[in-house]
């Protein structure tokens, strides 16, 4: 029995919702638009919204100044690598905690989350010295491991809550049939777990892509991702809004596009057990 909705009511809500959505999206839209303006148009009074001379000059200039592609590749490798590594470690752990919970499971989970409370700025110098001794400075491996560890608690937790939603009866049934734990995982549960894993993966990629403290401080050039790229544009001389916008657009575009295409998947898993 569908609720009856008057057309006027639907229109009113549509306008409201679109209004709010555009307001939230506006800063991004404005940045993208500004990236196609000349520096003069970027600060024109009154602001020029759509009617200006569209130009690609800013992108050319940014590209001439910094090697976007190398930064981009580093971002991709670091984000994907830390996510893959994290999932490798986290899936078994979350799995075991969800289906074989012990007395300590909850405490272990809590403790894991609490490791995220350490302020990174306070431990940078000890870690820097450690990395230097181990020859991990400016290596993708080094950053990748740090980001993996940083996000591990969140991944485990997210997977755990997701796995718990898989009905226990299926497990029971397969166990009755004498399936081994391995087969249980392989044939019964993997298909059901894939959506949860996918959304965890997406969230982790986003977090790793946007992490700006460790990536900035532990890399120099060879392993430097897009966060370093953007750090060279934060306050150049003279008028810089258009160039800043172009650099910003280049830094966020890949993840924004990935996010948009996969948002349904992401949202489905993004509940941390909040929805039963």
């Amino acid at each position: 029995m569908a609720r009856k909705v008057t057309n006027t009511r639907k229109w009113i809500f549509t306008c409201l919702a679109w209004g709010v959505a555009l307001l939230i999206f506006f800063p991004i839209l404005w940045t993208i638009l500004t990236s196609f303006k000349t520096e003069g148009d970027a600060v024109a009074t009154p602001p020029k919204f759509l009617f200006f001379d569209w130009t690609l000059a800013n992108y050319r200039e940014v590209q001439a100044r910094s090697d976007y592609f190398s930064h981009f590749m580093n971002s991709v490798i670091i984000a994907l690598g830390s996510t893959a590594l994290g999932l490798l470690v986290a899936i078994p752990a979350a799995w075991a905690m969800a289906f074989q919970p012990g007395k300590q499971t909850k405490n272990v989970l809590m403790w894991m989350l609490s490791t995220k409370m350490m302020p990174a700025v306070g431990v940078l110098i000890p870690i820097y010295i450690l990395f230097q001794r181990m020859g991990l400075l400016d290596s993708r491996t080094g950053v990748l491991i740090v980001l993996m560890l940083m996000n591990l608690p969140i991944i485990i937790w997210m997977l755990y809550t997701y796995f718990r939603e898989i009905p226990g009866e299926i497990l029971e049934a397969s166990r009755m049939d004498g399936a081994s734990l391995w087969n249980e995982i392989r044939y019964v549960l993997t298909p059901m777990a894939v959506p949860g894993i996918a959304s965890t993966m997406l969230l982790n990629i986003i977090l790793a892509w946007n992490e700006a403290f460790w990536t900035l401080n532990l890399t120099t050039s060879r392993a430097a991702p897009l966060t370093t790229f953007i750090a060279s544009y934060s306050s150049p001389e003279g008028l810089f809004y258009a160039k800043l916008s172009a650099a910003s657009t280049m830094a966020i575009a890949p993840i924004l596009i990935m996010g948009w295409f996969s948002q349904k998947q992401l949202v489905r898993g993004l509940t941390f057990g909040a929805v039963k």
Binding site: R3, I24, A93, M110, L226, T271
Partner: protein, 289 residues
Amino acid sequence: MATLHQRSLARLMVAPSVVLLFLWMIVPLGMTLWFSFQRYNLLMPGMEEFTGLGNYRYFLSDPGFWISLQNTLIMVGGILAITVIGGIAIAILIDQPIFGQGYVRILVIAPFFVMPTVSALVWKNMFMNPVNGLLGQVSRAFGAQPVDWLSQYPLFSIIVIVSWQWLPFATLIFLTSLQSLDSEQVEAAEMDGAGIWARFTNLTLPHMGRAITVVILIETIFLLSVFAEILVTTNGGPGYQTTTLTYLVYTQALLQFDVGGASAGGIIAVILANIVAFFLMRMIGKTLD
């Protein structure tokens, strides 16, 4: 037998994460603890010595310490309030039957993908700058004196920027939660003549309880370490007005290069964060059942 076997297998599966996280916790923590009792400034090698609690006394007596605690609380509290209340409102709005719901959701989710550094730079320069920023231009168009956000309302401005980044996250979780609300129940309540407000407080809100707890927990963990946004926009000022505990530790560590003082600050921050975490965990512990 099988269960015993399975249990040890389960332990084996958990072990790598526990070991890794334990190392990730204990190594920096151990080093930080060690340095926190040392006089150790990176810029003045050769002066290292044991100072006992000297670094702690120094950090706790910092003129910015209490203000930074207060700022941290206001900032985290403010952002939580805005994102939770705003998130619920927007989630309810989007959950209404509207045209183009999918597109609306795409627009709303976007800020979540933006790098904190980028969003801070964009807000600072292109919106909040009183001369060339858009907000300033708009207010001038209405004949008003442009507001200099980052110096007149610095903490509020930071709250706005960070809230913008986290609003999508809250909205999406609330939306998912709303969509799982039993529509028959709602209709029944409607038939009973319950008003909108009554339906909201008696049905919707209790249903979203878990979602709200989760949002608060996850956001708090990330918000306590907000740093890039402050560094880019206000550098902790003017005065101490946007200096949070994390930022104060930063000034010790990477401006003074006082590793001893920064380590003491780091330990204090860990202790305080864990006190907050303790209450949060108790709150969330119930959600896990």
